[in-house]
Subunit: 158 residues, 3 copies
Amino acid sequence: MDNNNGTTLIVMSGDMDKVMAAFNIAIGAAAADKKTNMFFTFWGMKAIQKGNLTGRGLFGRMIGLMNRGGINRIGPSSFNFGGIGRWMFRQMMKNHNVPSLEELRKTAMELGVKLMPCQMSMEIMEIAREDLIDGVEEPCGVAAMLEKSDQSRQTLFI
Amino acid sequence: MDNNNGTTLIVMSGDMDKVMAAFNIAIGAAAADKKTNMFFTFWGMKAIQKGNLTGRGLFGRMIGLMNRGGINRIGPSSFNFGGIGRWMFRQMMKNHNVPSLEELRKTAMELGVKLMPCQMSMEIMEIAREDLIDGVEEPCGVAAMLEKSDQSRQTLFI
Amino acid sequence: MDNNNGTTLIVMSGDMDKVMAAFNIAIGAAAADKKTNMFFTFWGMKAIQKGNLTGRGLFGRMIGLMNRGGINRIGPSSFNFGGIGRWMFRQMMKNHNVPSLEELRKTAMELGVKLMPCQMSMEIMEIAREDLIDGVEEPCGVAAMLEKSDQSRQTLFI
């Protein structure tokens, strides 16, 4: 496997279906022995946060209220109808034995997928290092993401 | 044309404007003699379904009700105001002689663009093989999509 | 720096957060000496328009009313609650000394990022050449965008 065959995913969306697609692609890439990196930015930060807490300052808490953090609270990007979209989506996934987001994330990490938190997003949204799940990389910026991307065959903006 | 100059489009969105952009890019790539593949997943499945029917089981039918399938029922991703967005958008396209989604899809297929249905999405959304339009490839997974992507100069997540 | 190391960004979204992410990535790429092109299409056109005016014909004006143009009127893609999302987002950015969209755009242009307007979008949305800010490239199509993309290490659809 040469040096330029990696996969880089920039996850900006916090929508359940898109985050799920991102982890599925990452798992497929890692399983194919490609060096795989996911760079989480803006709303995508929810996918690597510990729980419901989003940010610490006033604005961070306001975002937290509007937009409860944590990988289990993410709704799909299309229709949500007061939560029914998420509920239905989960039932469908369960009925078809599709793994949950938490399981997908765990599998990705076990396969060596690197989870990179965006430093600027953490600053703007007032998210601290200890609000993130264990095992993520050091917070970094666009330059570090582009370095991985330059060694990749595909970089997706999700 | 070398082996690594293809174009791969992952179409997850079911929004009319994004699907339209996807077909326009695919047509441009195929016209430039690039091997072009479109992988349809989640809401993007609507773009290669026959009609209004989305799925067969209970959940599939519920999604079908909320989110009428078929390429002519797709609304634009921004503002929709009870369908007025779609109506207006279509009028504007008509006034400017922009081809419809169905025409774009036909042109893409005539130029050799391959339409790949995502097997997992079909299972989750309970969509059968015969619900898809004629001429699509065999349903496949992330691994098959990544193989095409590895032979591509650009892979877009739409 | 070889010929195939550029960065191409296709900006279709008109959401403030996504446009901001696009300019941040473009600035990072240009700062790393990569030839960087941004192709603005559909709602993304707002990011390179002069003011609030969107289009000239009847439909163009209707879109303009629903969807006020201009880089300062763009809301974030998630939650907006009657404008509070945008206000809050801007306050947070200000508090953390994050540059505004206008400043990001200026910086990108100073670093040599090329801004390419999509001709078809201008025709459909009835946007004239003089409605665009100074310093953008000649309006062009998918073929010209793909040419840049073929010389790029990463092409993102935003």
